[in-house]
Amino acid sequence: MQHGKYRFIVGFLVVPMALYVIFVIWPFIQSIYYSFTDWTGLSPDFKMVGFDNYAKMLDDDVFWKSLQHSVLLAVLLPLVTLGLALFFAFMLNVGGRRRKGAAVTGVRGSGFYKIAYFFPQVLSIAIVAILFQFAFDPAQGMINGTLKAVGFDDVPTWLGDPDLALWVIMAVLVWCTTGFFVVLFSAGMASIPKDFYEAALLDGASRFTTFFRITLPLLWDTVQSGWVYMGILALGAEGFAIVHIMSVGPGGPDYSTTVLPLYVYQAAFRDGQAGYATTIGVALLIVTLAFAAIVMRVGRRERLEF
């Protein structure tokens, strides 16, 4: 039935497509357009400046530092977070001692752990940042307090130290995102048929082998989407919020924690250079797209059906 087919399809698609174009595509085009202007963001008049903003950006040390930190976050954070989450999820679902009546179970108290891991996800990112800011406070913070109590005298200043600050930020990001992936992967693991594990265990497979030969391949799709999601979080909102609230300056000390979205924010809302900010935003868009493309490419595997 070819007659009227297009009209039929278009009829269904026109509303969602229009919404998508107006609220997603259009702002993208707009910001690319503004990146070629000298718009201040504070007055309606501006003019085209060609590639001036791009030339300035390529010559801007702070931009390169932000880019470097953002890429580092996008590479390391998913690795650590997903690694930890996979480990925890495996232990919670499959890693337990064998008990009567069930071939595979989680460690004792796994129900409790599952809830405990998810707690950070319930807290708003701003609250997490502020809590950790108190914890890392060099004078009255919990962490240095503990270190001093167990006998360390020369305690670090954490966020005040350019060599440590970015690692502190990363640790906080890992803390507050791991729980979500534990729950996500647990759900994924629950859908893997138990017979596979039983068969493997009968053949004498170790936990290590069952994880890499059964769990990971069957969970691969979930891991891959988690990977993209986590990378985008690190490049975007979460990375921005934590750095903005916790770091010295923010972005310091001496630009050691600045990230691309923070730089966009500062250029647009502090320096009155909205045009330049959108230019950096375009760079961030390219980095994000490249990240997603690489992950999809590298992670491509034949899909297993079960």
Binding site: I29, L42, D45, P138, T157, G160, P162, V248, G249, R270
Partner: protein
């Protein structure tokens, strides 16, 4: 789970898709012209309210029946003082409908309205989300406040408003010539803040020279008290005492040259001497341990609890830490200690300047109303209401008689009296925010005071930042008149 694939050739083929998206692209190009219309509201519509009749009582020709809109920053000073002044306006012009709102997010709330050409009539453009003044002035978004300054004051019709203000206020509102774009309403005293009680316990008085300062710090260190602390996360508090220190050593011209972004301004010997003096605090271990990781509340808290003697700060600290400053603290402010007798300016040279910048947008519908509201705020009665509710001085010169002043405020008034005409007013922090806070503050001074950079390389770094700012054509540049 399973996989799907296109199973016939009747759907939308790949070629068709490419063709169609190309067509879509063609449509998108002409719409670019429409895009520019998005950011620019209709700026030609100049629908201002009619002016009222100019009389002795109404020198600014306010239209008494026209609506007025005020947006106030809701920060450390609260909103009570502004509401009090608004009540006076309403009493004076009973027919006027006054819309009053307060926000902490000045930029988020007002930026779209500036872009749309419909800003309110009076704004307190303050706080972390302050809109960049240089850009607002450069883009002609503000009304010249000269008519207000030349209008008779409310308390004494024989006196112009201009003549009732504290020193420096009018100049601070100027950016590029005669017009005055900003009325700074609060008056802040910057300097070295300390507890008189803590000094008395050490049998000391406030040190007038740097040698005395170092000696006092050494004495305090023996008692387990640090000499100095500062907000390590916001090292741009350090200039509050460092800049007047530079001026004291080398004269106010050095600061002017720095503000004017002159080449080699930072390489002046006075800058070097001041930086080396501060670095000595670091080298001798007189800075409170962990300071580089503390934020402003953290460092102020440690200081208020007596862990450190001195902190570079502004007069708002009294209100901000009111809850934890002990009753017998005897909060005081000191002008920067001098280097030696060869200093160009006398002891007492201090940084004081306006805060809470009020602006009247050029596209406001009722600019006369906005100006009139400022005139009301600059009366003695309104100024007293401000000082009582905020523990801070206002731009109105006087207004402290008959009200009880807190310790910090009293010492601020005394410091201003001692300084006389030796009040300096460095402008980097309102002209070049990024240079002052992020580059000089965090990247240079922060590193030096954490002991990670030497004064010489810090000066070189700052000079490079200043040169880059001077060269950057996308930044509007200003000069001292």
């Amino acid at each position: 789970m399973g996989s799907t694939s296109a199973h016939n050739n009747e759907g939308l083929g790949r070629r068709d898709l490419i063709k169609r998206s190309a067509a879509l692209g063609l449509i998108a190009v002409p719409t670019m012209s429409f895009l520019s219309a998005c950011a620019s509201g209709d700026s030609s519509s100049d629908d201002k309210v009619e002016k009222g009749e100019k009389t002795d009582k109404n020198p600014l020709a306010v239209n008494g029946s026209a609506p007025l809109e005020i947006v106030i920053f809701d920060g450390g000073f609260g909103t009570k003082y502004a509401e009090d002044a608004k009540a006076v306006y309403e009493k004076t012009y009973p027919e006027a409908k006054v819309k009053f709102s307060a926000t902490q997010k000045i930029q988020s709330v007002l930026q779209p309205r500036f872009n749309g050409g419909t800003p309110p009539d009076l704004i307190d453009n303050s706080g972390a989300q302050q809109m960049d003044m240089g850009v607002l002035v450069g883009k002609k978004q503000l009304t010249d406040l000269t008519p207000l300054l030349d209008a008779p004051s409310i308390d004494d019709p024989a006196k112009k408003v201009r003549d009732t203000l504290r020193p420096g206020i009018v100049e601070m509102g100027q950016f590029d010539g005669d017009p005055v774009w900003i009325m700074y309403y609060a008056y802040t005293v910057y300097g070295v803040w300390y507890s008189q009680t803590a000094l008395e316990k050490l049998d000391a008085t406030y040190p007038e020279t740097w040698d005395d300062m170092l000696a006092l710090c050494a004495k305090a260190k023996k008692e387990g008290i640090a000499g100095w602390t500062y907000p390590g996360k916001h090292p741009y508090y350090l200039p509050f005492s460092l800049y007047p220190f530079i001026a004291k050593i080398g004269g106010v011209e050095v600061l002017d040259a720095i503000d004017n972004l002159e080449p080699k301004a930072w390489e002046h010997p006075a800058v070097k001497a001041a930086f080396e003096a501060y670095y000595e605090l670091v080298a001798k271990g007189y800075i409170l341990e962990g300071t580089p990781g503390l934020d402003h509340r953290g460092s102020q808290g440690a200081w208020a609890r007596g862990k450190a003697l001195f902190i570079p700060n502004g007069s708002w600290v009294e209100n901000e830490e009111a809850a934890i400053i002990p009753k017998d603290f005897k909060l005081s402010v000191g002008a920067p200690s001098g280097l030696d007798s060869s200093d160009k300016m006398p002891f007492g040279t201090i940084w004081a300047s306006g805060g809470e910048p009020f602006i009247v947008p050029s596209k406001a519908k009722n600019p006369e109303g906005g100006l009139e509201q400022l005139r009301i705020m600059l009366s003695e009665a309104s100024s007293k209401s401000f000082t009582t509710s905020t523990k801070s001085l206002s731009a109105f010169n006087g207004g402290t008689d008959g009200i009880e002043l807190s310790d910090g405020l009293k010492s601020g008034v005394a410091a201003l009296e001692k300084a006389g005409t030796n009040v300096v007013n460095p402008r980097l922090q309102d002209w070049y925010v990024k240079l002052q806070k992020e580059q000089i503050g965090v990247a240079a001074l922060g590193e030096m005071m954490a002991g990670r950079a030497k004064p010489a390389e810090t000066i070189k770094k700052i000079q490079a930042f200043a040169d880059a700012t001077a060269k950057d054509q996308s930044i509007k540049h200003f000069k001292h008149q």
